[in-house]
Amino acid sequence: MDLTLSPADEEFRAEARAWLAAHVPAAPLPSLETADGFAAHRAWEAELAADRWSVVSWPREYGGRDAGLVRWLLFEEEYWAAGAPARVGQNGVGLLAPTLLHHGTAEQRARVLPPMASGEEVWAQAWSEPEAGSDLASLTSRAERAPGGWRLTGHKTWSSRAAFADRAFGLFRSRPDAPRRHEGLTYLMFDLRAPGVTVRPIDRLDGRPAFAELFLDGVFVPDADVIGAPGEGWRIAMSTTGDERGLTLRSPGRYLAAADRLRALWRERGSPAWARRRVADAVMGARAYQLFTYASASRPLECSPPGPESSLNKVFWSEYDIALHETALDLLGADGEAADGDWAEGWVFSLAGPIYAGTNEIQRDIVAERLLGLPRGRR
């Protein structure tokens, strides 16, 4: 049991801290769910990438620093503590990139990853469909064979970032006659500006187009943009959603920084005793999440199956995030209803946590069945 960093890790942390201190914009950028904000965040990604800070854990050849998990955690702690902007490229970096690194071809990695790292190409995910939310295996959008590639037809929705992004990735049904619902799905990448794609932005509760519907009408995708073998999409995607529920989605650094901001807000408001317990719980929860993650990072990969472990993780951070933002809004008193503050946007964002990347009901079922060994029941 050792929480001491090696001198090299300390040096890495110090380098990151110094760079961030010199580069983080003094004023917050506009919300990335607006056209202006999206552009500003894209520019920030380029600035990060110029000094190899945008994707520290990636191989150097694609723009990273080959940093291990611990250094990635340290970078994230420094990043959020410095008050740096939200990451507009997160969908690609967190979901598509790990998939490509595991299942993509060398050609795909070389072509896709560098512009993703620099923010030149921002990716949206295209998982859900109107009738396939939690029940992802029931999706119906089709990929049909065409000379040299596939044609995509169907209706995707809740595509985060798609209002302003460049490209998207998702699952499509390539063998409608497959005996089981999760067979015969293919994982593809496509251009959001390709002929046949219609993007309809959808406003979130606070009026910002945080996601979009995608209508696909015979959109051509070359074979080069299929990930893995056709029909293998489900298996490949499941390894990605494991990542989504776990670390790549929410690093402890975010919550450590958020808990610090909450404590500062509480003190600013005169440290009201009624909020003491909730503020302390936020501070302790962030520390628990940090240490839980260090423990995961210290286990050999084969000892921590991504599925059930990431379900614990997802329930924890999503409920933590809501509680933290509710406390902040309560500290703001009657100002808590104002829509223009950072805390308000964070609260709206937090409410989606228990829904996406597998609802918390599904995660609890997984914990109960796979970690506790309880009977499957009917769900």
Partner: protein, 327 residues
Amino acid sequence: MRFALDTEQRAFAASLHAMLTAADTPSVIRDWARGDPARGRALWGRIGAAGVFALAVDEKYGGAGPRPVDLAVAFVELGRHAVPGPLVETVAAAVLLAGPALAERFLPSIAAGHTLATVADRERGPEGSPGAGRALDGEVAGVRLVRAADGLWLAPGHGPVRRSLDPARRLTELSPGGELLTRDPPKDALGWARLATAAQALGVGLALLDRTVDHVRRRTQFGVPVGSFQAVKHRLADARIALEFARPLVFGAAVTMDPADVAAAKVTACEAAYRTAVTALHLHGAIGYTAEYDLSLWLGKARALRTAWGTPEECRDAVLDGDAGRP
């Protein structure tokens, strides 16, 4: 002792419900949120014609009140349909203006629903509760009052407007100065405002629950209705329980108008509505999270009412100071 609505009150609720259903409030709200209050004002006129605001105006000033129970009946319906505008504030204004000199000048138009009024309560805030000094919808109100420590003022105009998490609400600074209406306005405006807010929140919560039950009965995942999962059923059962136990507090407060009862109704109804909103959002999944789906119009209101006219902590203080229900 008969703690139940009478036939007339139930008929009043039903007629308001029918009128508001016919008014298609979601589209009225969307207009209002866009800054086009024309249809909202027309609806306001019909609500006034139905006698809602007159319930807060004493008979001796030409109203039909004070009838807090009937007012609570009405505000449950206004909340259920998420009617936009400074409804609670207009009630508070009616109470504040109930004095011999002022009543004649202001109350007929307010009671009739011709004038929207708003109030900035600077007696409690901003020190006591941050942000409490602002007025709702100051840019559409015809009468803008400031309740300050030194009396009741008619504000000459309004300052900057902030958006609320409820798209139908705009938080307005009122301009300082103006006309001093009275040094000593009636004291009970806060109680009426809290009661109306509690009743409105109860209606908001009931609507959120109804819509969500309806959704989970229709929506299927994994081949069965989402509403057949026990986890979903129990969350909705909890919402129902919270709302059912908030209801008697709201009507009990209307009967006694005891400050502790009113505060208990405010915090309990608002908390139940807010918890129901979080449940509703979650059980709708992503669609509930969108502005275009009508659920959003109730969600934001549940959040906003929670801190309007007294935060949960302020209301709990009032509860602990009182002795409601003790014989």
